[in-house]
Each structure stands twice: as C-alpha cells, then as structure tokens.
C-alpha cells in the first residue's frame, strides 16, 4: 500500500529565510505527487503538482518542489518565506494510471513563520 511520510510535524523559520519541507513516499508504481496547503478553518488548496517531465515543478506564491525518484522524495521549497505562509502543508500521492484516484496524505507539517 502506498504511504506518505512527512517527518517534521512542526517547522519554524524566520521571515525572509529559505524553507524546505520534506516528503517521502512509498509506492511501487509511478506516482502523481501533490503539495496542498491548509489555512486555519479552511479546506486544502493546491500549491503544486508533479505528473511527469521536468522534476522541478513551480507552484503558486513562489513555492517549488523537486521529484527525486531515486530517493522517493518530493520536498517543497521556497527561497524566502513570508508571515502569510504560516499554515499546515500536506504532501499527497495518488496512483498513476489504473482506476483508483484517491489521494493518500502525509500527516502534515505545521509551518510557523516568525517576524
């Protein structure tokens, strides 16, 4: 069964600093990979996705992620964080091909950006 691990439950960074949120997946096939963000009392919003091609994908608000197949990782990065980036970030994976399109999520990483 597929699984997603986000090893850092909480990350705190200073405003203006760079950010990396880690994500590793366990899956025997080719995955579709996603990063979602959840602000308080809101649903999930898609930041970026990887389906194929260039392993570095760009998302909204300056976020990017790199798919490293050999490491089964899909880490999220941002060069300079803003206080408004404080939220919970979820990495998710789904089947490529086949007939089941449900998402499997990691436990999430709570990002706190300090002044």
């Amino acid at each position: 069964a597929q699984s997603v691990t986000q090893p850092d439950a909480r990350v705190t960074v200073s405003e203006g600093a760079s950010l990396q949120l880690r994500c590793k997946y366990s899956y025997s096939g080719t995955p579709y990979l996603f990063w979602y963000v959840q602000y308080p009392r809101q649903g999930l919003q898609l930041l970026l996705k990887y389906y194929s091609g260039d392993p570095v994908v760009q998302g909204v608000n300056g976020f990017e992620a790199e798919f490293i197949k050999s490491n089964s990782s899909f880490h999220l990065r941002k060069a300079s964080v803003h206080w408004s980036d404080s939220a919970v970030y979820f990495c998710a994976v789904r089947l490529w091909g086949g007939s089941n399109y449900k998402l499997t999520f990691g436990k999430g990483t709570l990002l706190t950006v300090t002044p």
């Binding site: 579709y32 996603f34 009392r41 999930l44 449900k102 990691g106 436990k107």
Partner: protein
C-alpha cells in the same frame, strides 16, 4: 465558480443522533471524493464517486456510515447513531477528469462535533 460547497460548515449532534453532510461539487466535475480529518489520524480517504457511481468505499466505516450521489450536483455523507469518535472535519473534493490526472479541489469542510 464558487468552488466546492459544503453544508453545514458546523454541526453539533448528540450521541446516537443522525448527521447528514452535503457537498456540491464544482459544475462539470465528474469525480467526487470524501475525506475525514482528525488530529490523531490526519487526512483519511473515505469514499468516492465517478459520474455518480460509487467506485471505492474502502475507507468508510462498515457500520453507520453511508454516502450517496443522487445527481451530478450533490453528494451526501450520512452518519447514523453518531458517536464521539466520529467528531472530525469532513472534507469533500471534486475533480474535473480523473482519467487525465486532474487535481482535486477541496471544499472548506464540515466540522462535526458529537457530544
């Protein structure tokens, strides 16, 4: 485009009562997904529909939980005889064309509290 609509946003029930949660997917989307979010378990897949037909309900508790999609404009999740452990945020998502790998768009969720 109003996005995925979920009603009610908050619901409080007494133990043993029934709760019905509603989801209106984005117009034209063919797939509807239900997830449950708790602090302990994180985001868990419950069930999903494609073109109104149930495809996968492997995440649904076998007793008391049921989901329907009577038409393309709404889906319901019903919980009979609610228990305190059912307290969670229930998220609905829709997808334009799952065969093309399109991402899921999430609603704001319904927070269910069982007293």
């Amino acid at each position: 485009n109003a996005g995925v609509i979920q009603t009610p946003r908050h619901k409080v029930t007494g133990k043993g009562q029934e709760a019905t949660l509603w989801c209106e997917p984005i117009s034209g989307h063919s797939a509807v997904f239900w997830y449950r979010q708790t602090i302990v378990q994180g985001l868990e897949f419950l069930t999903y529909f494609r073109n109104q037909a149930p495809i996968d309900d492997s995440g649904m508790p076998k007793e008391r939980f049921s989901a329907q999609m009577p038409n393309q404009s709404h889906s319901t999740l019903k919980i009979q005889s609610t228990q305190p452990q059912d307290s969670a945020v229930y998220l609905c998502a829709s997808s334009l064309d799952e065969l093309g790998g399109h991402e899921q768009y999430f609603g704001p969720g319904t927070r269910l509290t069982v007293l």
